[in-house]
């Protein structure tokens, strides 16, 4: 029990530092790399929760594909690597106030509502349980998501091609 919490604390600290890096750093490529830290930490938390399949899907899809897409986006828009001016607009303090307000409300409500709930992992969730659920109970959302991905694929090709 204690070991789990220690591991959680280490990963959570890395994720917090990474998240602050994404919104604070002055270099866009560094922001993408900080995002890798956050997403890898998320995958590690999923493994800690015994949910292996979604953890590895997160590694494959997010770290493998989405981050590469971001790096391509940074490259193709010729984002400045060492910008003279700041990457933030002048709403820094109002933005921080809104974020703190939201964090306070969410945190207060979560502490009030779920202070007694515990996660006890008896055994890790096996992949066959997840895939069986996807292909039986959740087959209609699964098909809808497939159509949505096809639409996104065609839409991205239509938008990005030179004509």
């Amino acid at each position: 029990m204690v070991a789990e919490n220690v591991v959680f604390g280490i990963i959570a600290a890395a994720m917090v530092i990474g998240a602050l890096g994404v919104v604070r750093t002055k270099n866009i490529v560094h922001a993408a790399l900080y995002l890798v830290v956050v997403l890898a930490g998320g995958a590690a938390q999923f493994i800690l929760l015994g949910q292996e399949f979604v953890a590895w899907v997160q590694v494959l899809v997010y770290i493998g594909a989405v981050i590469v897409l971001f790096l391509f986006g940074i490259m193709l828009t010729r984002a400045p690597m060492h910008p003279k001016e700041s990457l933030d607009n002048d709403l820094r303090w109002p933005g921080a106030a809104v974020a703190l307000f939201l964090a306070g409300i969410l945190g207060g409500l979560l502490v009030k509502t779920f202070h007694a709930d515990k996660v006890d992992i008896i055994a890790p969730t096996r992949t066959d349980a997840v895939t069986n659920a996807i292909f039986t109970k959740y087959i209609i959302p699964f098909e809808v998501v497939g159509v949505l991905l096809l639409g996104a694929l065609i839409g991205a090709v239509v938008l990005a091609r030179k004509d």
Partner: protein, 99 residues
């Protein structure tokens, strides 16, 4: 493990993402902040699924992952289009609808 430690981590990540969306100027950075928010939602879904011993949390986390990938693909295509037409990707310079 308490359920709350995961939920509070998710709440923190979500608030950080909101800050990034409000404050960042470059469109790619705003998209990254949106990814931060989606990752926070995923942590909540998986934590609830693990706490209730159901696979529903994991299944819906997978759906959120799929939507996030589609969103980034379309979003970056739009950003590229904007950059090609206006030679800039800063949100502060995109003010065609303002006047």
């Amino acid at each position: 493990m308490l359920l709350n430690q995961f939920l509070l981590l998710g709440a923190f990540l979500f608030s950080t993402g909101v800050y990034g969306v409000l404050v960042r100027k470059h469109t790619v950075l705003v998209l990254m902040s949106i990814e931060l928010m989606l990752a926070a939602v995923n942590i909540n879904l998986v934590a609830f699924g693990a706490a209730n011993h159901t696979v529903a949390g994991q299944v819906f986390a997978l759906f959120v992952l799929t939507i996030a990938a589609a969103e980034v693909g379309i979003g970056l295509a739009i950003v590229l289009l904007i950059y090609r037409n206006l030679r800039t990707a800063d949100l502060d310079d995109l003010e065609l609808l303002k006047d």
